[in-house]
């Protein structure tokens, strides 16, 4: 996977920027219908707790979910738009997870 272009973010500090691919499995998930500001355009969206392969638990959105999801499904981290900030709509990028093709 490409380097996370989010230098200084807490996740980069924790995981390092040289990770090839960050894999994990779904610990739990929900479909959020009632979002906060900045997320209305995406709603409804998946929010999940992911158990990474190193044991770390992490909160993130799921993206590219094509079929029914199950707890335990394998996922990988990807870089995606999280929201847009301020009057000029500056895009905020971050990490999400997508199901691995089984």
């Amino acid at each position: 996977m490409t380097t996370i272009d989010h230098d200084g973010s807490p996740l980069v500090k924790r995981l390092g920027t040289d990770a090839e691919s960050i894999l994990g499995e779904v610990y739990s998930y929900t479909v959020l219908q009632d979002p906060p500001e900045g997320f209305a355009a995406q709603a409804p969206y998946y929010l999940a707790l992911i158990r990474l392969d190193d044991g770390t638990l992490i909160t993130a959105q799921l993206t590219d979910v094509a079929s029914e999801l199950q707890i335990g499904d394998p996922v990988e981290m990807v870089t995606r738009k999280l929201t847009a900030d301020g009057a000029r709509g500056v895009i905020v990028y971050g990490y999400k997870f997508r199901p691995l093709v089984k």
Partner: protein, 388 residues
């Protein structure tokens, strides 16, 4: 430390109070509690409030409310721990009186949620989650509760409908409480058909945001008997914390802070869970009730949901363990920073034998539990009736 008693309670109805400000709500409850105690003044006032800064653009509620009540000059400040703000304000009042720093203290919990609606309120309420790891990804408190609930259902093989009794019981009790926001009864079977907010958490699973204020007057127990006919002893008081984020907990399905604060407060009171006549638990979501009952020692891990079976009859006013006796967060409503003070005020009425249609027969001891976030802050107070 001196023993401390509750000598006055005051509550506004929990509603959408479109015409009242946060200051007016706090004043109304504070004045009502002072009148109940027969006092004109106190030495200190502690205010529980969660979201004044983001709902109302208002801080310094200590100064605001002392001024409105006519007590300008006394020690006063706000206490914040998310939805446990009311509980920690009670803790502050308890410590002040127990230490002798204040002879009498007024504790006011207040929240005015309806200054915001919709997405803006969701954002404003989100400040009690972790910003950098949770809300930045679009999380809400309801969504985080939903993550716990789905994991619990899969790990323990529990169906959605098996949580229904928690909500049915709350509304059964709330229907008798004039101060409750939603006094409707929940029909058996309606829970599973309610609109989803964040699967599997639905509208009938989640406590409503609301406006309201509640207040308590505290005094040394040995003087309380001369002040009022039925003082109630604050026999135990404890606050414990867990990681703010679920993701940092070794086992997210264990509310460690609840276990810790419950056992500390019960130890102080010299009681065990089996000695308690009732419990006000923080039933913001049914999954929180199940996990809280487990952490408090009323169930094994993974078995808390069993209390909700048969429409929660074992949790009813006549049941083995009455909870949410005035409707709980679900039916009375959840005015966040006021909730912990409502719970303690309601338990006080129970132990005074003054709970009217909501009375638990012969209630002599109660545990009151108020949680911030998903039990990131856990406040537990044990109340006991004092001999006449």
């Amino acid at each position: 430390m001196k023993p401390v008693a509750i000598v006055g309670v005051g509550m506004t109805p929990v509603r959408e109070h479109w015409t009242l400000s946060i200051g007016e709500l706090g004043e109304a409850a504070g004045r009502a509690a002072l009148a109940d105690a027969g006092l004109a003044a106190v030495d200190a006032l502690y205010v529980g409030n969660a979201y004044g800064a983001t709902y109302n653009q208002q801080t310094q509620l200590g100064s605001l409310i002392t001024g409105r009540i006519g007590l300008a000059g006394i020690e006063s400040f706000g206490c914040e721990a998310g939805d446990a703000s009311g509980g920690v304000a009670l803790r502050a009042g308890y410590l002040a009186v127990a230490a002798g720093a204040a002879q009498t203290a007024l504790v006011v919990g207040v929240e005015k949620a309806t200054d915001l609606v919709g997405l803006a309120r969701n954002t404003a309420r989100g400040v009690s989650l972790d910003h950098d790891y949770e809300t930045v990804n679009g999380a809400t408190l309801t969504a985080m509760a939903a993550l716990l609930m789905r994991r619990y259902m899969v790990e323990h093989c529990v169906e959605l409908a098996q949580f229904e009794g928690f909500s049915v019981n709350a509304h059964r009790n709330g229907s008798r409480n004039p101060n409750a926001m939603y006094r409707n009864l929940l029909r058996s079977g309606a829970f599973g058909k309610a609109p989803m907010i964040a699967e599997p958490v639905s509208l009938f699973d989640s406590a409503p945001d609301a406006d309201g204020a509640a207040a308590l007057v505290l005094a040394p127990a040995d003087e309380a008997v001369d002040l009022v006919p039925r003082p109630v002893l604050l026999a135990g008081s404890a606050v414990a914390t867990d990681s703010l984020m679920l993701q940092e907990r070794a086992d997210p399905l264990r509310f460690a802070a609840v276990s810790r604060s419950t056992s500390q407060a019960l130890d102080q009171a010299g009681l065990t869970p089996g000695d308690l006549d009732m419990a006000e638990v923080h039933d913001g979501y049914t999954i929180m009730t199940a996990l809280a009952l487990e952490a408090m020692g009323f169930s094994e891990r993974g078995a808390g949901w069993r209390w909700a079976q048969a429409d929660g009859e074992q949790l009813s006013l006549e049941g083995e363990l009455p909870i949410s006796t005035f409707g709980g967060l679900k039916s009375r409503g959840n005015p966040s920073g006021a909730t912990g003070v409502y719970q303690a005020a309601e338990a006080t009425l129970q132990l005074r034998d003054a709970a009217g249609d909501n009375q638990v027969a012969n209630a002599a001891s109660a545990v009151v539990q108020n949680l911030g976030g998903l039990a990131s802050t856990a406040v537990t107070h044990v109340l006991r009736a004092m001999p006449e």
